[in-house]
Structure formats: structure tokens, C-alpha cells
């Protein structure tokens, strides 16, 4: 992607095409942003920023699949916003395991204890595992498209998914055991 100043200013026609090609994937962009940020307000800001960035870069869109293209921009925007907020000095894992409360179950209207536990377990995973599972199971992307979003070889995507599912199983088991012993949720 070129520097911002290289980009031609979008005109009415560009906005029109953008509306029909990219805007339909706003739900996916928000869903991904929701799991990256784990906060509904931050997710809206991230999705909005990513959408505007996508419009500015739309001239470089070459008719590939729009959803992975947009999700990659969401991810890059998220990384940039975190850098801007001075979070890059912490290693990813430390940062991600610290705040693990995840989307508020009340807000997300996640019905039922089981779903709540799954959402909490997913939210508690380190970013690397969390995002690959979100792209696979929630956004329903193929390995090829996940590889495009994350800029990784397909083989790496495959092994990350395998590891992430194992981590999720361990996390979920831990949560269910805590609950069965009458302990509060983490």
C-alpha cells in the first residue's frame, strides 16, 4: 500500500463503487474489530477509521475478494492505533493476557452460560490465537484468505489454528472447572 499522499482523492464515483464493493462488509469489519479490541466503543472507532482508510486505498484495490482485503486493513489500522497509543513497547502476549474480560456478556446479549463461557475463553486467548480463530470460525474465511489477512504462509495459518484450538480447549476447561467449584469467573 502506498503512502497516503500518493493516493488520489476519492471522488463521487469512487465513493459509489466503494459503497457497493466494500461497505457491505462493514459487519465483518466491526465483528473483527470487536474481537481485536474487546471493547464496543473502541471497536466502532477502529472500524470507522479502517473504513475511511479503505476508501483512501480503494484505488489500489484490484478486484480481489473485498472481505479479506478490508479485514487486513482493519488489522493494520488496529496495529497502528496501538502504536500511536504507546502500547507497542509491551510484548503482545503480556498485553493481551492482562486484560481478559472480553465483551460484556450482558451487552453482547450472549444467551446462556455456555456461550458466555466460550466468549470469555476466546477473549482471554492471546491475540495471535484469538484472531486466527475469529477469522476462521466467526468470519468464516478460508485458510487462503486468512493467510492474506495476516500476511502469513498457509502452512503457518494451519498450525496456528491447531494451536489456538488447543489453547481454547484448555482455557474453556479451566473456566468450567472454576465454575463447577463455585469460584467466580476470572
Amino acid at each position: 500500500m502506498g503512502r497516503m499522499s500518493d493516493a488520489p482523492k476519492p471522488d463521487g464515483g469512487t465513493v459509489g463503487r466503494f459503497r457497493s464493493v466494500v461497505l457491505p462488509h462493514l459487519d465483518a469489519a466491526y465483528g473483527y474489530a470487536r474481537w481485536l479490541t474487546r471493547d464496543p466503543t473502541d471497536a466502532q472507532d477502529l472500524a470507522q477509521e479502517a473504513m475511511l482508510r479503505a476508501l483512501r486505498y480503494f484505488h489500489s484495490f484490484r478486484g480481489e475478494e473485498a472481505r479479506p482485503w478490508l479485514l487486513r486493513i482493519v488489522r493494520n489500522t488496529w496495529i497502528d492505533l496501538r502504536k500511536r497509543n504507546g502500547a507497542e513497547k509491551l510484548p503482545l502476549e503480556v498485553l493481551e493476557t492482562r486484560a481478559a474480560e472480553g465483551p460484556d456478556p450482558e451487552q453482547s446479549a450472549l444467551a446462556g452460560d455456555r456461550r458466555r463461557q466460550i466468549a470469555a475463553a476466546l477473549a482471554a486467548l492471546p491475540a495471535e490465537s484469538r484472531e486466527v480463530l475469529v477469522l476462521r470460525e466467526i468470519e468464516d474465511l478460508s485458510y487462503k484468505h486468512i493467510a492474506a489477512v495476516l500476511d502469513l504462509p498457509i502452512g503457518t495459518v494451519m498450525s496456528r489454528i491447531a494451536r489456538a484450538r488447543e489453547k481454547l480447549a484448555v482455557e474453556l476447561k479451566g473456566r468450567l472447572e472454576r465454575r463447577d467449584h463455585g469460584l467466580p469467573d476470572l
Binding site: L26, D27, Y30, E137, I138, M158, I161
Partner: protein
């Protein structure tokens, strides 16, 4: 096929990423490998559980904010964008319908869902349009008199620029069949709609703040007025807003 090979294929098999011939080889290998069968079951279960999570669509307000940006960009690069206004109108109409019958319908408990629906629908009108106010002024001596003769009470109006919430203006809305005053404030790029009307109780009640789809909703009672605020703000900022309103109202008595 040896076990490490079939183990490496478990997740790709679950995800339907193996070629037909690989799938068949994997299934044959599976028969002789209880450990990989166990892995397959575990991977399938995790996949299935995550797929049970309900999708969370983009909030209407986010959609409205992006629409506003797109419209501005399209409008700035053209002298006139024929049809844009009409499309915008249609979009606004469908948005309001979505708000009143959709995700807000009866989903807020305790406060009376309809009142909250009306407040949020009113807020979206404020946040979505360029102006969103009937009287645009940061001067309380312009905004407050504007309500005279339009509603049957005189709302307390204060500019809160010092506290980080400049007054943008005022408008009328209808809540529960009654005409009410709505004051519009700004916090950075976010707008806040404060709807207020005389209370039947004189006792103050501290602000309670709920969050819903990226909106913060505050309701409280102060100095004989029922206060309801809606904004796309973090709860802590909404709390600061309510505190600022109360302090200004009290200081003015």
C-alpha cells in the same frame, strides 16, 4: 501415514481444507490412530462451540457515522451529487425503522423499553444529520428562550465548554407522547443528546449508566428534572458529562 502426519492434518480436515485424496488418506489413517481421533473430536468441538456465538452486526450509529463521512467526501469532490440526498433520506428512514423495531425493541429492561427506544432514535437523528438541532448556538441565552412557547416548561440550559462539553444547540422531540426539550452537546467528535423534562419527584437520583451497542445511556434526576443522556461515549465520559450538568444546574439556582 504415520501419526505426526495425520496429526498435522486434523485441523485442515475439520476446516475442509484437504484435497479429496488427502481427506481419504486421512480417514484411513484415522482408523488406526485413537489419539488422532481424540484430537479430531476436540478440534470439531471447539469449532462448533465458536460457531454458536451470535454474530454482532455493526451498530446503526457506526453505520450512520460512516455514511456521514462518505457523503461528505462524495459531496466535497462534486458540485452536486444528484440523488444523494434522497438515498440518504431513504437510508435514514430505514435506520430509524431498524432502531424502533429491531435490536432495541424491548431489549432494555427496567426503564420502559419504549422510552429508551425513543431516546436512542432521537439521538441517531441528532448524530446522523449535519445539524441535528433546531436552534444551533453555544449561547444559552439563545437556546433557552428558543424553547419558550414551544414546550410547557423551561429547561435549564448551560454551556459546558469549560468541562469539555460545548453546547451545540437544542431541538424538540416527543417522548412518550409528550413534547420535550433536547439539548445537544459535543465531546471531541462525539455528540451527546440530553433530554430533560420536569419530574414528579423532587428527590435527586444519581446517574446510572448503561452501555448498549456502543451507546452510553445515562438516566438521573436532578433539581426537579428527569435527565436522560445518550451518546457514543465511554461510560466514564458519560459520567463526567452528568456530573458537569448537575454542577452547572446547582450553581445556577
Amino acid at each position: 501415514m504415520d501419526c505426526p502426519t495425520c496429526e498435522a492434518m486434523v485441523d485442515a480436515y475439520v476446516d475442509g481444507e484437504l484435497a479429496t485424496s488427502e481427506s481419504a488418506a486421512f480417514e484411513r489413517a484415522l482408523e488406526g490412530c485413537p489419539e488422532c481421533r481424540r484430537r479430531l473430536e476436540a478440534a470439531r468441538m471447539m469449532s462448533g462451540l465458536l460457531r454458536e456465538l451470535p454474530a454482532e452486526p455493526a451498530p446503526d450509529l457506526l453505520r450512520a457515522r460512516i455514511e456521514r463521512e462518505l457523503r461528505t467526501i462524495a459531496g466535497a469532490s462534486r458540485v452536486r451529487f444528484p440523488g444523494a440526498a434522497m438515498r440518504w433520506g431513504a437510508m435514514a428512514a430505514s435506520l430509524l425503522v431498524a432502531v424502533s423495531i429491531g435490536w432495541l425493541g424491548g431489549s432494555l429492561v427496567g426503564q420502559g423499553g419504549r422510552e429508551t427506544d425513543e431516546l436512542v432514535a432521537g439521538y441517531i437523528r441528532v448524530a446522523m444529520s449535519e445539524h441535528g438541532v433546531d436552534v444551533a448556538s453555544s449561547d444559552r441565552h439563545t437556546v433557552k428562550p428558543w424553547f419558550a412557547g414551544r414546550i410547557d416548561y423551561s429547561p435549564p440550559v448551560h454551556d459546558l465548554t469549560q468541562e469539555g462539553f460545548p453546547l451545540v444547540g437544542g431541538r424538540l422531540d416527543v417522548i412518550d407522547g409528550r413534547k420535550v426539550a433536547v439539548l445537544v452537546y459535543r465531546h471531541n467528535q462525539h455528540r451527546i443528546a440530553l433530554t430533560l423534562w420536569p419530574s414528579s419527584s423532587s428527590a435527586n437520583a444519581a446517574a446510572t449508566i448503561r452501555q448498549r451497542d456502543g451507546f452510553a445511556l445515562a438516566d438521573w434526576r436532578h433539581d426537579g428534572f428527569e435527565m436522560r443522556a445518550v451518546a457514543d461515549l465511554a461510560p466514564v465520559d458519560m459520567k463526567a458529562f452528568a456530573t458537569a450538568v448537575d454542577a452547572a444546574v446547582t450553581a445556577d439556582r
